[in-house]
C-alpha cells in the first residue's frame, strides 16, 4: 500500500547498480510477485507492485508499491474495470513516480497478464520509461484463455503489436498452455496459484540467465543477439533441484526444466536452432556438476544448434541448482521478416501437434500468423491538412493517413 515504507523512491534509489527490478503490473503481475517472494532463488530481485486496484495491493508484500489511479481528479483506487484506456491513463499518470522507482537498476523484468486494463494499458509506458532511462527491459506477459471474451484477446493482440517494436524483449505466455499441463480436476484456486508460481519461476529463471557473469558469461547483449537474430518462436524452461532431492541434482534439474510448461517439452528443445542455457548454483557447485549439466542440456539439442552457456554462483542458491533454458526456433530465412515482429507474438493455440503432420509450434510461436483476419476496407480515415491534397501513395500505402489510424490503435485524448 501507499504507506509501505519502501514505497517511497529514495530508498530504492540507493539500490546498487547490478540489481534487477521485477515489476508486477496489474492483478496478474502482482500475484506473480507474491509467488516470487516465496522463491528463495529470487531473493536478490527487488520487487515493485503496480496496480489500479488499491484493495488488491493492500495484501502485497512487494518492496515498493504504486497504486495508480485511473481518475485524474478523484484519485480513486477502485481499479480500471478492464478498460485499457483507463489503465493506460492510470499508469501514464504515475510516469514520474515509476521513473523514480525504476532509475538506477541495471535490468527490469515486467510481468503481467494481457487482456485486462492495467497491464494492457500500462506496458507501453513502462517500455517507454525503460528506453528513456536506458535500462534493458524484458516483458513476460500472459495472454488470455481461448474461452475468454474476444475483446480481451483483441486487447492483448493489439497491445503486443504495439509493444514488440518498442520493447527490448517480449515473451508471451499463453494461459491455455500453462493450464493444459494441469489435470482437469485441479481446483481452480490451486490452478491459478500454480500459474503464478510457474510465471514467478520463469521470471527468476530469466533473471538468473542475465545475472550469469561470474563463471561463464551470458549477458543482456547475448540475450538480445539471440532474440534479434531472426524472427523466432521461443520457449522458457526452469528446473530446480536441491541436494536433498537425490544424488544427481543436476540431472534432476534438467528433467524438471524439460517438464516446464513454457518450454514446450523435450521435443521442442530437440528442434531448437539456438538456446541460452544457464546453471545457477551455490558455493558448493562442483566443476564436474557444471560441466556435466551443460553437456546434458547440450545433448538434448540437435547437432549444429547454437548453444550459449552460462553459469553463476550465488549464496542464495546454496545446496541447490537451477537450470534455465531459453530456446529459439528461427523462422525459415526465405520468409521475409516483418520489421515489427521481432521475436514473439501472441500464441493463439497451445503447442499441440497439427493434424497436417507439420511441426507443432513452440509455446511462444507466431501461430496466429496464418490466421489473420481479412480487413474490409470500410473504415473511414481522417487526413486532416492533407485532405484536399492529391494522395501520395508509397509502397501501396497512403502515408498521409495517421499511422495510429491505419494500425487501428486507440489513443487516449484525455479529459
Amino acid at each position: 500500500m501507499m504507506d509501505n515504507p519502501a514505497s517511497t523512491s529514495p530508498g530504492l534509489a540507493r539500490v546498487p547498480v547490478g540489481k534487477a527490478l521485477a515489476v508486477g503490473l496489474g492483478g496478474c503481475g502482482v500475484r506473480i510477485l507474491e509467488s516470487l517472494r516465496n522463491n528463495p532463488r529470487a531473493k536478490w530481485l527487488v520487487t515493485l507492485a503496480v496496480d489500479t486496484d488499491g484493495g488488491f495491493l493492500a495484501g502485497t508484500h512487494a518492496d515498493a508499491v504504486i497504486n495508480a489511479s485511473a481518475d485524474w481528479n478523484s484519485k480513486s483506487s477502485a481499479g480500471c474495470g478492464g478498460d485499457v484506456i483507463r489503465g493506460e491513463r492510470a499508469i501514464s499518470h504515475e510516469r514520474a513516480n515509476l521513473k523514480e522507482h525504476i532509475r538506477g537498476f541495471s535490468l527490469m523484468i515486467v510481468a503481467g497478464g494481457l487482456g485486462g486494463g492495467t497491464a494492457t494499458g500500462g506496458v507501453r509506458t513502462l517500455a517507454s520509461i525503460a528506453r528513456e532511462e536506458g535500462i534493458p527491459a524484458i516483458f513476460l506477459l500472459t495472454t488470455p484463455f481461448s474461452f475468454e471474451a474476444h475483446s480481451r484477446r483483441k486487447n492483448a493482440d493489439d497491445c503486443l503489436q504495439e509493444i514488440i517494436p518498442v520493447a527490448d524483449v517480449v515473451l508471451t505466455m499463453p494461459n491455455d498452455l500453462l493450464f493444459s499441463t494441469l489435470p482437469p480436476d485441479t481446483p481452480a484456486e490451486a490452478a491459478f496459484a500454480a500459474s503464478a508460481r510457474e510465471m514467478a519461476n520463469t521470471v527468476a529463471g530469466i533473471a538468473a540467465i542475465l545475472r550469469c557473469r561470474d563463471l561463464l558469461g551470458t549477458n543482456f547483449a547475448t540475450f538480445m543477439r539471440a532474440f534479434h537474430k531472426r524472427k523466432a518462436s521461443c520457449g522458457v524452461g526452469v528446473g530446480f533441484a536441491e541436494s536433498s532431492d537425490g544424488l544427481d541434482r543436476c540431472a534432476l534439474a534438467l528433467t524438471r526444466m524439460l517438464d516446464s510448461p513454457f518450454l514446450g517439452g523435450k521435443e521442442a528443445m530437440k528442434r531448437a536452432d539456438a538456446a541460452i542455457v544457464t546453471l545457477t548454483g551455490g558455493p558448493d557447485l562442483e566443476l564436474g556438476e557444471l560441466k556435466r549439466s551443460l553437456e546434458l542440456a547440450a545433448g538434448v539439442m540437435p547437432k549444429g544448434a547454437e548453444i550459449l552457456s552460462g553459469a553463476n554462483i550465488c549464496d542464495e542458491a546454496a545446496d541447490s541448482v537451477q537450470m534455465t533454458a531459453v530456446i529459439f526456433q528461427y523462422a525459415p530465412e526465405s520468409r521475409p521478416e516483418p520489421l515489427a515482429a521481432r521475436t514473439s507474438r501472441p500464441a493463439a493455440e497451445p503447442a499441440v501437434p497439427s493434424s497436417s503432420g507439420e511441426e507443432p509450434p513452440l509455446p511462444f510461436s507466431a501461430a496466429s500468423d496464418n490466421a489473420e483476419e481479412v480487413e474490409l476496407g470500410l473504415q473511414s480515415y481522417d487526413k486532416g491538412i492533407f485532405e484536399k491534397l492529391p494522395s501520395v501513395r508509397f509502397r501501396e500505402e497512403d502515408l498521409d493517413i495517421p499511422t495510429y489510424q491505419r494500425k487501428n490503435i486507440h489513443i487516449d485524448k484525455g479529459s
Partner: protein, 425 residues
Amino acid sequence: MASSGQTIITGIEFGTDKICVIHAMPDQNGNIEVLSFASLPSKNSVVKGTVIDQNAALGILKSVLEESEKGLGWKFSRADQQVYFLINGMHVSSRFGEGTVLNCNADRKITEAHVRKAVDNAKNLAISTDMENIQVYDSSFLIDGTKRTFNPIGMIGEKLTAIIHIIFAEKKRIDMVQAILRELGFEYGYPIFTPLADAYGVLTQDERSQGTLLFDCGAGVCSYVLLYKEGVLLSGAIPVGTNNIANDLSIALELPYEFCQKFLRESTLKRLRDEGKNYLEYKVSSGGVDKIRRIPLDSFERVMDLRQRETFSLLRQELERAKMLRYLRNSIVMTGGGSLIDSAPAIMMNVMGVPVRCGETMNVTGALSSFRNPMPCYAAILGLVKHAAALEEDSPSGGGLRRTVVHATDQFLDGLKSLGKAFKL
C-alpha cells in the same frame, strides 16, 4: 566582404515549410562565408518538397531574393549569378547505370581516360522522356567483371566497368523551377538533390568512407543518401515529414494543427517531462465557459513514436530491398527539422541498429544571425553552397558553368567529376 573578383553562389530552397535564399562565398579550403540569408513561409506553394503553385512560389521567392540581396549591401546582375537550387520530393528517383570500356594498352594499366570513358558510357542510360538526369555520382568499378574497386586508376585489367548512381527528376517539375528563375532574371539554375547537399555540409570524410546514411527529415518529405567509400550507393525519398507528425497529433488528440506544430518545434514534450508533468493542460472554451483539458503526455509520445517508427522502418525496408543495409556500417546522420524532435535519434537507432547523430554544417562563418531556427534546419541550403563550390572548382571551364546554358544538363554533367573527387575538398 566579397570583392568583385570572387565567386558568389546563390542557393535557393523550395521547402515545404519555407522558401529560402542564401548568398555565400566559398574559399579554397571548402569553408563558406554566408553573406546574406532570407526566408519566408512557402504558404502551400510547395507540397512535399515539390513546387505545385508556380505563381505563389514566384511571388514568395521574389520577396525573399530582394531581402537577401538587400542584406548583401550591393547590387549586381542576376543574369551573372550562378544559381543552384535544391530539388526534393517523390518525383526524384535514382538508379544505377553501367558502362564498360576495354583497355587495349600494352601494359593493361587503367588510366583516368578509361575511367572517364566508362563513366560516360554508363551515363548513356535510356530514361523516360518526361524525366531528366540531374546528377551522376560514382558508385564503384569492376575490373574484368569480377574485382570490385572504388579507385581503379593504376590497376591492371582488360575490361573496366563503371557503376554509377544517376539521379533524375520529372522534367516538368524542373522546368517549373527554371521558369520561376528566368522570370526573376536568372539564366539557368542547377538542381541538386537535397540529401546530397546535406551530405556535403555535414559528413566528415571518415563518415563518407565508412558507410553512412544521411537522412534529411524535412517538413513535407524525408530524403536519404547512403555513402560508402565516398561513392553514392543509394538515394531516395519517403513522402512523410514533420507535418505528418503534427497532423497525426492534431487528429488524434483533437488539437489545432498549429498548436501541434508549435508543440513539436518547441520540444514541449521534453520540457513538460523534465518538469515532472504527466499531462498537458489545454484550455478550451465551451459556451463561454473556460475548461481545462488534461491530455496524457504518453498519448503525445505514442502518436509521435508510431509515425517516426513507421518512417524509419520504411527507410530500413528501402535499404533492405536494394540490398544495401550491409553497407550501412558507420552511422546515420540526421538533418532537417525532424532531427530536432527529441525522440527521433533514439527511435532511429532502435530501428536501424547503428549510432545516430544530428548533423550541422561544418566550417560556416558570416551572417549566421539570420538563421532563426537551430542549424540542422539549414543543413541542406548550407550544404548546397558547399556542393556548388565543389562543382565550380571541378568544372573544366573554371567558374564558367553558366556558359553551358545551351545544353545545360549534358554539359553540366560533363562538368561534374565523380562524387569521390568532388567530395575530396
